[in-house]
């Protein structure tokens, strides 16, 4: 039976600048972004006939249609789970175009994460931080004890991981440094021209052991969008297509967003592991074949764990793989988060990771890897996850 392997491609991409105050509504940001992505593809906005975003995104498809002159929206959907859903948006779009349901599907995320949404309820949502607590577990068994933030919830996992593999705090920080150094060359990144060194990292403020402030992605105002169509149509458009060689989504037993604590081993991300297995199986390649990786770095210490789950390094060696930064630099054996990732660009739910993956495939990244035939994207560490392999 046929899979969607190589049936679809990303043909247009764009991000806005990421800042602490865009000065624009989320609607305007995403519509300008989609317009840029559409022009990048050599299309018109009225060519778009499908739209997929996340369930808690600020802007819905009918409002987008009103702004962009979309005439016939024949497919629209929204998927859950934040950073874990961005690749799944593209997976969904690939399925839709491969099935002939729509021609040009836009996958997008927009957020005024820094300036917030005035109408949001009190608490964390007020500051623009998403407040999706679809998972009922959150509302009973963690907040009364003061475990209310992703950083705190993740620290439970990271502390156990470090205990299980004998990792010392002094070994951490290299992913954050690498992302900041990559972002420093990216004019649209929040931390453009603002790299940090490992000494800066070590001197910086702690948040919850072992996370430092610098390990937690900044909430920003910004948007990102990609246009997906069939491989066939992609060949007639403006830019080199980034073919969706594989796509996968996963939720495994006892999954809870950021708090999958009732598993035998909480140092593992079962969803990331499963996504990796399904991606390599669909693509017919192995982890060794991946040239560049864009990995969910919403919280830095979760990146080494994901590298292990994806088979990009050996179990227990994620942190040492990143130590020193050489192997994950744009010149290294596995260039990582080459536009800066969430840590360097800003937190746009890893949609920006997909955009950068396409740039690498095209050869147009500000931190271009010498070889970028196969680029892996994965998101959703600690909860429901999804991933893509894009290829030249």
């Amino acid at each position: 039976m046929d899979t969607i392997k190589d049936k679809a491609a990303i043909v247009g991409i764009a991000t806005t600048s990421f800042s602490k105050n865009s000065g624009k509504s989320e609607v305007r940001s995403i519509c300008e972004c989609i317009k840029e992505a559409v022009e990048d593809a050599g299309l018109k906005t009225s060519d778009i006939d499908g739209s997929i975003t996340e369930t808690s995104d600020a802007v819905d498809e009918v409002f987008i249609a009103k702004n962009l002159g979309i005439q016939n929206m024949v497919y629209f959907n929204s998927l859950r789970w934040g950073d874990g859903s961005s690749c799944a948006l593209v997976q969904n779009a690939a399925m839709v175009v491969a099935a002939g349901v729509a021609n040009y599907v836009v996958c997008y995320r927009a957020v005024n994460g820094a300036t917030g949404r005035p109408e949001a309820p009190v608490g964390m949502a007020k500051k623009g931080m998403w407040a999706f607590s679809h998972d009922l577990c959150k509302q009973g068994f963690y907040p009364p004890f003061g475990l209310t933030t992703p950083a705190g919830q993740a620290a439970i996992l990271v502390n156990r991981y470090m205990h299980d593999h004998g990792i010392k705090t002094e070994q951490l920080g290299w992913v954050t440094v690498a992302c900041r150094q990559n972002a420093a060359k990216n004019p649209r990144a929040l931390f453009y021209e603002n790299p940090i060194s490992i000494d800066d990292y070590r001197k910086s403020n702690a948040v919850v052991q072992p996370l430092r402030e610098l390990d937690c992605s900044e909430e920003v105002d910004g948007a990102a969008a990609v246009i997906v169509t069939t491989a066939e149509k992609a060949r007639h458009l403006k830019k080199l297509p980034a073919y969706v060689m594989a796509a996968a989504q996963s939720a495994m037993p006892e999954c809870e967003w950021m708090t999958s604590y009732n598993r035998p081993d909480i140092s593992r991300f079962a969803e990331i592991e499963r996504v990796g297995q399904d991606l390599f199986s669909m693509a017919g390649v192995s982890p060794r074949d991946i040239n560049v990786a864009q990995i969910d770095d919403f919280l830095a210490p979760l990146v080494p764990m994901q590298l292990e789950e994806l088979g990009l390094c050996r179990r227990g060696e994620g942190v040492s793989f990143c130590e020193g930064g050489k192997r994950i630099s744009p010149q290294g054996e596995l260039p990582l988060n080459t536009a800066g990732g969430s840590l360097g660009e800003g937190h746009i739910f890893a949609m920006n990771h997909i955009v950068e993956a396409v740039r690498q495939v095209r050869g147009s990244s500000v931190n271009q890897a010498k070889k970028a035939d196969l680029v892996l994207v994965a998101g959703g560490a600690g909860g429901p996850a999804s991933g893509l392999i894009l290829r030249r």
């Binding site: 577990c137 907040p143 004890f145 705190g152 909480i266």
Partner: protein
């Protein structure tokens, strides 16, 4: 040391649902229970509507926990950022692996952040936070 609350910011209360009511009713009576499927002999936390093994709701019961466990992991909240503003820092959140095998999040009290370690034996206690809110917590085993 005991948990100190910031009166200006109320604690986020547990959301009770028909499926977890039994759990919180027991807590109010200073009892910790774990949801159990009587048919499959399996324990679940957090509580849910159906046993995922036999996929039925009619065999779900509440089994009392011994109250003994070990620290499986923990977080020291020392700084305000990422902590809950309704609780004064420093406070400790621990993931406790109960004797029965399930893991449960709670606060560790009566022990300093420096004393906490993975593997440390702990035992159950209860704190009446408000007149109408009781919470289960853990302290170092004697």
């Amino acid at each position: 040391m005991p948990i100190e609350y910031n009166e200006k910011v109320p604690l986020q209360r547990p959301l009770t649902t028909p499926d977890n009511q039994g759990f919180w009713d027991a807590v109010r009576k200073h009892q910790l229970v774990i949801q159990k499927c009587a048919r499959c002999n399996l324990l679940f936390h957090p509580p849910r509507a159906m046993c995922p093994e036999c996929v039925s709701a009619d065999s779900l019961t509440w089994a009392p926990a011994s109250g003994k466990g070990k620290v499986y992991s923990f977080v020291n909240f020392i700084y305000d950022r990422s902590a809950y503003p309704g609780i004064k820092v420093p406070y400790v959140v621990a993931l406790v692996e109960l004797e029965e095998g399930v893991k449960i999040i709670s606060n560790l009290i009566d022990c300093t952040a420096q004393e906490v370690s993975i593997g440390m034996p702990v035992e159950l206690t209860f704190v009446d936070v408000y007149h109408d809110l009781t919470l289960y917590m853990f302290k170092k085993s004697q």
